[in-house]
């Protein structure tokens, strides 16, 4: 139970173990990126099958002849019936390198994890310094990796789930002409994500932070020939940059006030801050601005739903399991800083809770299966922020982990569904939307494994015991409740409202979001897998389970989604080892948590806890029941026959018109002012216009000069000039 303090790298218990090789964990995916990138460019240089426009993508009657390429990009398969699918010439090698480097990385991570467990209690992080990055003046930033309990959890999630999703991608993307490029980007993403969690200082985290944003940009716009996809990628990058601005300013404030940017240095300096002081609050709020960008919280959530334009495995890895949780990691990493700023913590919790509810309302009315999951992700990220916001870092990280399991499963499962739908429509040369749930229905009959696995994930996210999500969500809500009294948060005020009132509000919003989660997830399952099939009678014979290379990772994730709760069983649980994760993370976040709860462990009486658990479970069950009784899948019609929504349904379907609002309020005015006022007005109007008479003169003079210069004797000018220069330089020098 102590803050990581200054320490020498040598002499650390991990120094003589395999942990010395921890740099391999990020370097392996980087190597994969270089190799795959080389393969993709080499092939690109030779026009032929590798070229998208030459080969098309897909072939009607070959079972393996088409990836889900067009499925994700709406209407992308307009040329599908021309040309024949050829696997990328380097596909075999890429399939080996892409997932291979990740698997190796995961193995190294497991070995390091094992070493970390065997050294027993580890109170200080193990910092592996590679080289000095930006040494100048009083600034010293190293490229250094930090291994501690928190980064270890993140590393295992990233490499473990990353490996599964890479394997799934081998099947999902098999016939895409950009196959090596896809794996190059995906490998690069994992490298940056590992840098993000392993960096030992804020600037290095920022490298990973922006790097994952870059890969996200590249992968969202992977099928860049669709304008919508390229737009979505660009939007993601720019919106993220607004958050990055906050991250940068937070770093400036840290350096100006603490003189250091390393975690250990900032953590130590945070201890000397004034509790609730302006500095701590400002730094934390700017950090949180960064987090709202990367983790898609209000007001910067708008990029994430659009990000679904990328291939579905990308949505699973980047936009559900790993990258979008970076904001949660950032706050957990800055636990001691946030502990000094209760007002900032309450802001985090309130924004998280509002986002959870807001996104859930939109999720209720989406027809695109991936959009439902996208808003669900935004909503669940809100939960995580509620957790870390109230200083329950273990709960937040715990939910991050279980969410990584069940949301990756849901996305990959939806990928299998989309793949199957796409194959079927492809076989019949039908150009319907393979992601619209109105075109699905009754798929359980054709895809029993996927259906069963996705039900596990659905029960987990809805919070039904004993599935993983139940434990993590319950812990967050219980932590909020526990802090309504006897915590720094309860004692603080937020915008004039007493902290405990705010926390009750957050708790209520959390319950409301839980109810809606259960409803929209059940709705998604019913519309997709149950009721009559609406894909069309011609398509039905073609519907079937995806190949094993895609289903196997789903099964692993299914097991994790079901049993993930074991990692951190609550104290009231009747049997089994309790609070493993809590004890594991204690050396990193323990102090931050204790500061919030006035130095003693948050405590709820067992009876209170039973009531809270009962309430949460009841709400989940009610949500599922509402969806079951109110929804009529039999009454649904395929997307092309559907009547447009009206009223509140239309508003929800259009996501409360937030995008349109931003466009009108921010984007268009910026462009307008830049074009009319700054460019045409000030630049060409005012500044150049100030010399109005001069300009006319200039034009006339230019004409005269032109006639002179066009004498065709330009050589003369060069001669004259050269002789002049030589003359001036030498004449005086040599006498």
């Amino acid at each position: 139970m102590q803050l990581p303090t200054e320490h020498a790298t040598t002499g650390h218990p991990l120094a003589d173990t395999i942990a010395r090789l921890a740099w391999l964990i990020p370097v392996l995916p980087l190597l994969g990126f270089l190799l795959n990138g080389f393969l993709s460019l080499r092939a690109a240089g030779t026009p032929g099958p590798a070229d998208p426009s030459a080969s098309g993508h897909g072939h009607g009657h070959d079972d393996h002849g088409h990836g889900a390429h067009g499925a994700d990009a709406h209407g992308h398969d307009a040329h599908d019936d021309h040309g024949h699918a050829k696997r990328h010439p380097a596909a075999g090698l890429v399939s080996l390198i892409g997932p291979g480097v990740l698997a190796l990385s995961f193995v190294v991570a497991l070995l390091v994890f094992n070493a970390m467990r065997s050294v027993g209690e580890m109170h200080a992080p193990y910092v592996l310094t590679l080289f000095e990055w930006m040494p100048t003046g009083s600034l010293s930033i190293d490229v250094a990796f930090q291994l501690d309990q928190l980064s270890m959890v993140m590393i295992l999630i990233i490499t473990g789930i990353g490996t599964l999703i890479h394997i799934f991608s081998v099947g999902y993307m098999q016939d895409d002409p950009g196959y090596p490029r896809y794996f190059a980007y995906l490998n690069l993403f994992v490298f940056f994500m590992l840098l993000l969690v392993m960096g030992a200082n804020y600037p290095l985290m920022f490298v990973g932070w922006e790097g994952v944003g870059l890969c996200s940009y590249l992968l969202i716009g992977f099928w860049f020939s669709e304008k919508a996809n390229a737009d979505a990628g660009k939007k993601a990058f720019i919106v993220n940059r607004i958050g990055d601005f906050g991250f940068l300013v937070a770093m400036f404030l840290m350096f100006a006030n603490f003189g250091t940017l390393s975690y250990t240095g900032v953590g130590a300096a945070a201890n000397d801050l004034v509790m609730g002081g302006a500095l701590a609050t400002t730094i934390c709020l700017f950090l949180f601005l960064g987090a709202t960008g990367k983790s898609a919280q209000i007001p910067l959530f708008v990029w994430l739903p659009d990000a679904m334009a990328g291939p579905t495995p990308v949505s699973a890895l980047i936009h559900a399991a790993t990258m979008v949780t970076a904001g949660v990691y950032l706050i957990a990493r800055s636990a001691t800083l946030f502990a000094m700023a209760p007002a900032a913590q309450l802001t985090v919790a309130v924004v998280g809770a509002l986002t959870a509810v807001f996104a859930a309302t939109i999720g209720l009315k989406q027809w695109d299966i991936k959009k439902v999951l996208a808003y669900s992700t935004v909503s669940q990220l809100g939960y995580m922020f509620v957790g870390v916001g109230v200083g329950a870092y273990t709960a937040g990280v715990f939910h991050l982990m279980t969410h990584a399991f069940f949301k990756a499963l849901l996305f990959l499962g939806s990928g299998s569904v989309i793949y199957a739908m796409h194959q079927a429509y492809h076989a019949t040369h039908n150009h319907e939307d393979a992601q619209d749930m109105r075109n699905m229905g009754g798929l359980k009959k054709y895809m029993p494994i996927t259906s069963a696995l996705m039900w596990i994930a659905t029960l987990a996210i809805a919070g039904i015991p004993p599935f993983s999500g139940f434990f993590s969500k319950d812990e967050i809500l219980a932590s909020v409740f526990a802090r309504t009294h006897g915590s720094t948060l309860a004692d603080a005020t937020w915008l004039g409202i007493p902290g405990s009132v705010v926390l009750y509000g957050v708790y209520a919003l959390g319950l409301a979001a839980a109810l809606m989660t259960a409803v929209y997830m059940t709705r998604m399952m019913i519309y997709t897998f149950h009721g009559p099939n609406r894909s069309g009678s011609a398509e039905q014979p073609h519907l079937k389970e995806a190949p094993m290379i895609m289903t196997a990772p789903l099964i692993v994730l299914g097991v994790l989604s079901a049993l993930g709760g074991l990692v951190n069983l609550p104290l009231v649980f009747p049997f089994g080892p309790k609070e493993i994760l809590h004890h594991w993370l204690e050396p990193v976040v323990g102090q931050g948590t204790l500061l919030v709860t006035h130095g003693e462990a948050a405590h709820l009486s067992h009876s209170t806890e039973y009531v809270l658990i009962g309430t949460a479970v009841a709400i989940a069950v009610i949500g599922i029941a509402i969806a079951y009784t109110r929804l009529k899948p039999e009454a649904l019609v395929p997307a092309k026959d559907a009547v447009p929504e009206t009223g509140i349904e239309k508003t929800l379907l259009n996501k409360w018109y937030v995008d349109e609002g931003y466009d009108k309020a921010v984007v268009q005015p910026t462009l307008g002012v830049s074009r009319t006022l700054l460019w045409k007005g000030i630049d060409t109007g005012l500044i150049d216009g100030l010399m109005v008479n001069g300009t006319a003169l200039l034009a006339r003079f230019a004409g005269w000069m032109g006639s002179q210069l066009q004498s065709g004797r330009v050589g003369t000018y060069a001669w004259v000039l050269l002789i002049g220069v030589l003359g001036v330089l030498s004449a005086f020098s040599f006498r």
């Binding site: 026009p47 003046g137 922006e210 790097g211 400036f252 910026t670 060069a718 000039l721």
Partner: protein, 535 residues
């Protein structure tokens, strides 16, 4: 390496040699050009290869400076001092410190790439063109090396004329307007500077004929207040501000860039703009520290710098012409350099120097890429493109990497410079820094939007589909590769560069701070100590 260089007394001849070699080359080119009147194609071939060899020789010669210059020494390095125009007190004095070392190397290493960039696009009057490029190089190098104010001014003007001719003769449609605008803007600024230089030279001579030596002038301004110091500073600052260019003196730049041939744009952006910021670092600020750091003057300079950062980015956002977009982005980037200089901390000064170098690399590469696509499509209008990543994947990869570096994505050179400027400026100028930092958003917006409209989106225009099979050739890949390597290298491991400039930047910041804290400046101990510390 150092021993080897010492063995041939490298430091004693290298700077004059670097100035002389391009002039000899220009002479050879003109002789060759006049003897080769008939076949224009053959003339082009022989002229460009001769020019390339000379620039390569220049680059190879200059590399030794990396080792031979002792950047930690407070003395001028590779110092050369000879009488030149004795009756006017003008001397031929050259020398380097860590800061000018990096700029000299940037120039010598970039010039061969600029020649390769105009390898096929310049087809008329080629020997004159390359001769002018060579004379220009002498001028630019002279500006960075000169330690005599009069020599500095001569070099400053030497570089102006060839660029004027390059734009005016080999430029685009509105080349005459652009070249004249460039010429007049720069001339007005430099004439005022000439007056200031003559005034300073006469003052420094103390009645025994003028003395233009930089060290002497510095000693003088540090130990006694110069009458009319404010106006002298204004004269220098104006000349340099036009060159940088700072808002509102920037309107010549977009026109000059758009009309200039590729090599002209590359040199203009990568090197010539840096003469402005170099001028502030070498002359305007150290010679008049109390005036430059006077709260009002500083406020004005910082405001203009920050306005330039945001204004340049916003105007870049709405440019339909890609070259103009990059030109306005230069206004934004150079604003960072000015912010770093006037924030006056070691970190911000170092950041300013890194931006100086890395803007040269990234923007140089951007102009080269624009030139390559222009040669194929004969348009620079962004809306004329779309989807060409499909037909020119290697071009697309290069453009993406260079754009990311210009945006300042971490891991590229662009980030290091901007980050150091911002984090170094924040402690002394928090509000200006906050405004400047918003450009991370705008930079992403204008460049990614442009990149999207050029290489992404549907490939529908037949002219663009016709680019199939016309991806970058080996010459183009070869000339971009060093730039791409530099982009990543400086982003990941900028330490060697920072080490080279650290001592000079620290000395400058300390001496300016010392001079500032003794505002009377008249024979105070601190001031003379500070002057000692500078040189």
């Amino acid at each position: 390496m150092t021993q080897f260089l010492d063995g041939m007394a490298y430091n004693s001849w290298i700077l004059p040699a670097l100035l002389g070699l391009p002039l000899i080359g220009a002479l050879l080119l003109l002789v060759q050009g006049s003897s080769n009147k008939g076949d224009a194609d053959a003339a082009m071939r022989s002229a460009r290869s001769l020019a390339l060899w000379i620039f390569l020789a220049e680059a190879v010669l200059s590399i030794g400076l990396w080792w031979s210059v002792d950047v930690s020494s407070p003395d001028w390095q590779a110092y050369v001092d000879a009488a030149w125009i004795p009756q006017w007190g003008v001397r031929f004095t050259l020398g380097l410190d860590g800061i000018s070392l990096m700029l000299v190397l940037l120039t010598t290493l970039l010039m061969p790439l600029a020649v390769l960039g105009s390898w096929t696009s310049i087809r008329e009057k080629t020997s004159s063109y390359y001769a002018l490029l060579l004379v220009l190089t002498t001028g630019m190098l002279g500006v960075f090396m000169a330690l005599d104010l009069a020599l500095f001014y001569v070099m400053w003007e030497v570089m102006l004329v060839p660029m004027y001719l390059i734009i005016g003769i080999w430029g685009g449609q509105r080349r005459l307007y652009a070249s004249l605008k460039f010429f007049l803007y720069t001339m007005v600024g430099s004439l005022l500077m000439l007056v200031a230089i003559i005034f300073l030279g006469l003052m420094a001579g103390q009645g025994q004929g003028p003395n233009f030596s930089y060290d002497a002038v510095l000693q003088m301004t540090r130990t006694a207040a110069v009458p009319g110091g404010f106006w002298l500073f204004v004269a220098f600052a104006l000349a340099f501000a036009v060159k940088v260019p700072m808002f509102p003196f920037h309107t010549w730049l977009p026109d000059a860039h758009v009309e200039a041939p590729t090599a002209g744009s590359v040199i203009l952006a990568a090197i010539m703009l840096k003469m402005g910021t170099f001028g502030f670092v070498r002359f305007a600020v150290p010679l008049f520290p109390d005036i430059a750091m006077h709260p009002t003057v500083r406020m004005v300079m910082l405001s203009l710098a920050v306005i330039g950062i945001v204004y340049g980015a916003l105007v870049a956002l709405v440019q339909p012409d890609f070259k103009k977009l990059v030109a306005y982005s230069s206004v934004s980037h150079l604003g960072f350099v000015m912010l770093g200089i006037f924030a006056m901390t070691v970190e911000s000064m170092q950041g300013a120097l890194v931006v100086t170098i890395s803007h040269g690399i990234s923007t140089g590469a951007l102009f080269l890429l624009i030139g390559m696509i222009y040669e194929r499509r004969h348009t620079r209008q962004i809306e004329d493109f779309g989807g060409i990543a499909k037909v020119m994947p290697i071009f697309a990869v290069c453009l993406t990497i260079v754009a990311l570096s210009s945006i300042g994505v971490p891991g590229t050179n662009g980030f290091v410079g901007e980050f150091l400027v911002l984090i170094g400026s924040f402690p002394t100028q928090p509000y200006f820094t906050l405004i400047a930092a918003t450009s991370v958003i705008f930079a992403a917006a204008y460049l990614l939007w442009a990149v999207q409209r050029i290489i992404y989106n549907p490939l529908v225009k037949p002219e663009n589909e016709a680019l199939k099979g016309m991806d970058l050739n080996w010459r183009e890949i070869g000339l971009l590769t060093p730039l791409l390597i530099a982009i990543v290298w400086l982003g990941v491991y900028p330490k060697p560069l920072l080490n080279k400039t650290e001592a000079a930047a620290t000395r400058m910041v300390r001496s300016v701070e010392a001079a500032r804290t003794s505002p009377t400046l008249i024979n105070t101990r601190a001031a003379s100590a500070a002057a000692q510390q500078v040189r």
